[in-house]
């Protein structure tokens, strides 16, 4: 049965996943979920990406389903990060980086010129590989987006900051430290701070670019727990080079190779019964 996880408090010890990952995932898959009938929150069609003259992504088509965790896996340099960085157009900070095609979000193509970037980036949040708290206090970090996009009075702000920190499983650890600089926290805490900062403005989608690769394993598992609880309210797209992690946390997985999407499907199916040979080779470690 789905939902065999019981937890008293989200941020204490790990009476976490009662059933081992594969069984949970299998339960999900056999729960009769039909990929195509789910609502897509992001639809990528014909996405190409160029670094100057060099093409990095080739005709990517991908459906990101609402309230699900989609993992993007593949060998290094295959374009995983490049792909999700198109979802919030963060690549535009750099000259010569160009994307063509369609990315439908909220009924509009966000690659089109008239898009309101500020609003779009509120709705599509991003967590980076290296935890990057802003040079301000813990409280100000989480409040950053709220202050920027909304006019809130002090108590409303404090409530929402606490809320976001609770939902990121960080509240108990920092509730006495709200006035300390964000960089004073440990690596894993910093990353959860970034997550709190991101979800405070209640985005629709949270993009995670290898969020756990720069932090220690204990902190990593906390973040993975977090993803499961966040899923109910947010859609998560996670890029990871760690296949076990993808198998643990995601519902659907897309396998990338040299800028092409080779295969997309339910995670259990990808890992137990891949359709494409390239996928199989990667999963079984024939190349990395």
């Amino acid at each position: 049965m789905v939902g065999t996880k019981v937890r008293e408090q989200p941020n204490t010890r790990r009476d976490v996943l009662v059933a081992p990952p594969s069984e949970v995932a299998a339960a999900r898959a056999t729960g009769g979920e039909d990929f195509d009938s789910l609502e897509s929150i992001i639809s990528v069609r014909g996405l190409d990406f160029f670094y100057g003259k060099e093409q990095a992504l080739f005709n990517n088509d991908l459906e990101i389903k609402k309230n699900r965790v989609t993992a993007i896996i593949g060998p290094s340099g295959c374009g995983k990060s490049t792909h999700i960085r198109t979802y919030n157009r963060i690549y535009e900070l750099y000259r010569d980086h160009r994307a063509t095609g369609e990315i439908m979000f909220g009924g509009r193509n966000i690659l089109a010129p008239g898009t309101d970037l500020l609003e779009m980036r509120r709705r599509v949040g991003m967590i980076f590989q290296k935890p990057s708290p802003f040079p301000m206090t813990v409280f100000d970090n989480v409040a950053y987006g709220l202050r920027q996009h909304y006019k809130l009075n002090r108590s409303e702000l404090a409530d929402r900051v606490e809320d976001a920190l609770r939902r990121s499983a960080l509240w108990d650890e920092v509730k006495h430290k709200l006035g300390e600089p964000g960089i004073a926290l440990s690596g894993g805490q910093q990353q959860r701070l970034c997550i709190a900062r991101c979800i405070a403005t209640e985005p629709d989608v949270v993009l995670m670019d290898e969020p756990a690769s720069a932090i220690d394993p204990v902190a990593t598992s906390k973040i993975e727990e977090l993803m499961e609880s966040l899923k109910a309210n947010y859609t998560i797209v996670i890029v990871t080079h760690n296949m076990q992690q993808a198998a643990r946390v995601s519902d659907y997985t897309a396998f990338f190779y040299e800028g092409h999407i080779v295969e997309v499907g339910p995670t259990t199916q990808i890992f137990s019964n891949p359709q494409e040979k390239q996928t199989e080779d990667y999963i079984t470690g024939r190349f990395s």
């Binding site: 500020l118 980076f128 290296k130 301000m136 920027q148």
Partner: protein, 336 residues
């Protein structure tokens, strides 16, 4: 590389020299001597400064004994009667420096923003070079240009316009009793000073802003911030110590600038200016202009006393700048 070949042969075994105790006589003391010589040279730099301080104190002693600390609060400069006061010069220094900083600082920050965020790297390099060229122009050139171009412009266009409009009623802009048309004035000198310190503050600020980690900025943009918001709330906070340090350095330069100010400030060393449009003097330009006229012992000593004061003021700002720059280096982990 031929010098190395003397010690190393291409054959197996230790170099020939190693088997014997000291094949060359100087080997005993060459390396230690090298260390000592270079150490002495390094210390010379430090010694030079202390010597300067000492000489200044020594030679202003006559004036210090005679005039004391009230030198700092008196307005006077009359060799014939032997009365000297630094107040007019100090006031003028403060006023010109403030004008320069108020103009230069925001401009420098915005230009640094441009160089780091708004233009492609190639353009940034060209523009950066242009800014550095501006810094390389000697101050006498600024002075001459100011004298022949800016002063008439201020006298004939700007000052009449200011005094004729509502601006002329504002406290600092209302012409005072010593008003001489506004050509040679605190404002003119301050404007040129601003142009002179602009490139320094810009270059320092740009260097510090470049050290803000890319990921942090991307996180800011990713949250839907505009370029200005990322600069203001994130980059500037990160770079704050460095920019404060840069400001102090700019201040130090403005305080000590001599030639351009000497040309433009009006050389009125007998009044504390009431208005930016009035002429005045600064410590540095007073020294420059009066020194060659000085004849009596007290006169010279008083001028050296002024030099000592200027030295002390700039020292304070330099030390402050060093402290802030070191702080910047610590938070960003780089060399500011």
């Amino acid at each position: 590389m031929s010098t190395l070949e003397l010690d190393v042969r291409g054959e197996a075994g230790p170099p020939r020299g190693a088997a014997r105790a000291a094949p060359r006589g100087y080997r005993h003391f060459a390396d230690p001597a090298f260390r000592v010589i270079t150490l002495v040279c390094g210390l010379t730099v430090a010694i030079a400064m202390f010597t300067l301080a000492g000489v200044l104190v020594l030679n202003s002693w006559t004036a210090i004994k005679e005039l004391g600390l009230s030198f700092l609060t008196t307005v006077a400069w009359s060799p014939s009667s032997g009365s000297y006061g630094a107040l007019a010069a100090l006031a003028g220094t403060v006023m010109t420096t403030m004008v320069a900083m108020v103009i230069a600082l925001p401009l420098a920050l915005v230009i640094a923003l441009l160089l780091t965020e708004l233009v492609p790297p190639r353009v940034a390099r060209v523009l950066g070079t242009a800014v550095e060229m501006l810094a390389a122009i000697p101050s006498i050139i600024f002075g001459m240009w100011g004298l022949f171009v800016l002063v008439p412009f201020m006298q004939e266009r700007v000052a009449p316009w200011v005094t004729g409009s509502w601006l002329g009623e504002l406290p600092l802009l209302r012409p005072g009793p010593t008003f001489q048309g506004g050509g040679f004035s605190i404002l003119t000198a301050g404007l040129v000073l601003a142009v002179m310190i602009l490139p320094f503050i810009t270059a320092f600020s740009r260097d510090v802003l470049l050290m803000v980690p890319r990921v942090t900025k991307e996180a800011g943009y990713g949250m839907g911030s505009t370029t200005w918001e990322v600069l203001r709330k994130i980059s500037l906070r990160y770079a704050l110590s460095g920019i404060v340090g840069a400001t102090f350095i700019g201040l130090g330069r403005a305080l000590g600038e001599t030639m351009a100010v000497a040309y433009l400030v009006g050389g009125d060393f007998l009044t504390v200016p009431r208005s930016l449009l009035d002429p005045g003097t600064t410590v540095a330009s007073l020294i420059a202009l009066q020194f060659n006229e000085a004849t009596t012992k007290l006169d010279i000593s008083a001028l050296i006393y002024m030099g000592l004061i200027l030295f002390a003021i700039t020292m304070v700002f330099q030390v402050l700048a060093q402290i802030w720059l070191r702080r910047a280096r610590r938070t960003t982990g780089g060399r500011a």
